[in-house]
Symmetry: C2
Subunit: 354 residues, 2 copies
DNA sequence: GTTTAGCACTCGAGTATTATGAGTGCTAAG
DNA sequence: CTTAGCACTCATAATACTCGAGTGCTAAAC
């Protein structure tokens, strides 16, 4: 059977109606639409065809039709019209971004919250890092008699520090020595490459400061692992409850149980690296339990080989057009913000964190 | 009317039964309890009394009774027996703490998650800081030709840093000068005390590095404000859905809407500073919407004049005994962890964050 | 050949009706 | 003071019934 233009038109109407109303759509209401000038009977026939072709489903005999996953897929890939953000929307998006991101401390998680807000769906945000991190340099700063601050700068220009206090006092000499040894021996090594042998060598060279080596190394490996591991934040889970499909508390709970950080961290594997915006519809998701759930996600660059990913999770029946529009606008904004890496004299810049 | 021992006994039985079963309890089931050797009729009479005294409520004529807020209050204050943690429980609590807290990066929020896990209720965690923070010292570390790392140590020994890059190259001289100026003029000032005048003075003294002053000051005020502001994390909201009282999706949603970070940040105001563990029952909460909701919270010390607060939110019918037991055990554990401030040579210590 | 009107049929959702029984308050006997 | 007995209440569950949206099919109209 052939997928005529009229069929497509009808399919689109069905998907969009269902997205709006969350209720199966019948032939009559379709016939009433201004740009579908056919009788309900004709439309019924077409709908029957679409059903046998697998684009529609029938919850039960006497209900209307709802889109099948394949139907959604087709809609997303071919039928969906770009949603245009209204001026108002761009305004408020801009504002939200600026306000929230000034405090970029936990920028990523803030982003998640924002996305959740603007889409009214649960959102997640994560960072992902290409390649293993190494330490680019160490700095030690004396802090009082018996302590110092260890500052570590990684290959991705993240800076981490730790205050190390000791029960004994240490001299500036010791600290200088330690600093030299660290910079000589532990830079450009990934966490995996810091083997016991390396550690031994460092300890031997460290002389008086040998006792400090384990503390330092612990911290360093922790930092590096932290860098490699992508952080995931999920927020706004409760937003799901406002969707009619989750008015059944059982489903809602199951969904929310599923929707934790571990599930999300499985997502990047599914991502086609070439496509900035991705939509996974129902069964295409791995996690079986998320059958009638879709995921929309997008990536953005945050410099230094780091990438961020933000996305939302919702019922298959979500407003793909609107959500992709908002999400990509948001992602662009972020990329821009993270983009201005070098500061024009005396203006805010970015990257790293406290 | 007098609150006899028998009445108390019955009240306790009712509260505990209701906590377990989440269903109104009737005279018959009470009479069946081994330590209530009275006929159902007798118990009925007592229940009628308790009802007129305001400790019990009747959802409708022919249902059993449920505790009123006053009933809960009495139970918590007088009737509740200390719940004893089983060895198993302490074990798993210990394990959980150790595992999770090694990565103390966002220790506070991790705690929230943990508490939510062990109580199976939504949990929140927050830090609160006494007194305004100031910068204790500045350190600048050259990083390449045209950038440096600004390291700030606050009065509470938190260390924050920022990588500042410039479009022009700078000399070691400039950096040294800036460092001296900052340490001379901006230490021991709270965010509020950094007035435009101060700023002016600093800028003038900074000479060649004057252009950098705004960036630095922005960062500093941001850090200080950040320190003052208490951070709140809420997690596990979805846990509520497993409680029967929230099987009504409407209530659940209303509740979850209410239960955001802003609501929580109102809580500390209600806290009696002398009492480590606090329980707010239903109407005692400010936020009107949380009528049939209770809050259990506890504080713990994390050194440096900082305090943490963790707590859980749940239906008034929650297992106060068990939850307070777990929570306080948890709080003790945390206090201990945060306590070991000074490290015995070559062992993990703590405080600060990356 | 395509479109449409007509019609019998299906079946979920909503409504009304009716048990059922847990729980109560009260009275009177133990 | 306690308890057995009993009439009464009322939410919940079960059942039956209606309603109507939507369907598929056939036959007539275009």
């Amino acid at each position: 059977m052939e997928l005529t233009d009229r069929k497509k038109k009808i399919l689109r109407a069905i998907v969009e109606s269902y997205i709006q109303e969350a209720e199966p759509v019948g032939s009559k209401s379709l016939a009433a639409m201004p740009d579908l000038n056919y009788s309900s009977a004709t439309i019924r026939n077409e709908m029957a065809d679409l059903t046998t072709m697998g684009y529609l489903e029938q919850p039960h005999t006497s209900a209307g039709r709802i889109p099948s996953p394949a139907g959604y897929r087709l809609y997303i890939d071919e039928l969906m019209q770009n949603y245009r953000l209204s001026v108002d929307e761009t305004h408020s998006l801009n504002e939200a971004m600026e306000q929230k991101l000034q405090e970029f401390d936990s920028a990523i998680s803030q982003m998640g919250k924002l996305v959740s807000q603007i889409t009214n769906l649960p959102a997640y945000a994560m960072t992902s890092q290409k390649g293993a991190a190494t330490v680019r340099r160490f700095d030690l700063i004396m802090a009082g008699e018996s302590g110092f601050i260890l500052v570590v700068m990684t290959s991705s220009e993240a800076i981490r520090n730790k205050l190390i206090k000791l029960p004994v006092s240490i001299t500036e000499q010791d600290v200088k020595l330690l600093s030299a040894v660290l910079n000589a021996s532990l830079t450009d090594l990934t966490a995996a490459e810091i083997t016991p042998e390396v550690l031994n060598r460092v300890t031997r060279s460290a002389g008086a400061a040998a006792g400090l080596v384990p503390v330092v190394v612990d911290f360093v490996t922790h930092v590096l692992q932290q860098q490699e591991k992508s952080e995931v934040y999920v927020t706004g889970q409760a937003k799901l409850l406002s969707q009619p499909e989750y008015h059944d508390i059982g489903k809602a709970q199951q969904m929310l149980d599923e929707l934790d950080e571990e599930m999300i961290s499985g997502l990047p594997a599914l991502v086609d690296p070439d496509q900035p915006m991705q939509i996974l519809v129902g069964p295409e998701n791995i996690t079986q339990e998320l059958k009638n759930t879709s995921v929309v996600m997008t990536r953005f660059d945050i410099g230094d080989g780091m990438q961020g990913m933000i996305g939302v999770v919702g019922p298959t029946r979500m407003d793909y057009a609107k959500i992709t529009a908002r999400l990509s606008y948001f992602a662009e904004g972020l990329a821009k913000m993270f983009g201005k890496q070098v500061l024009p004299p005396a203006k805010e810049e970015n990257k790293e964190e406290s």
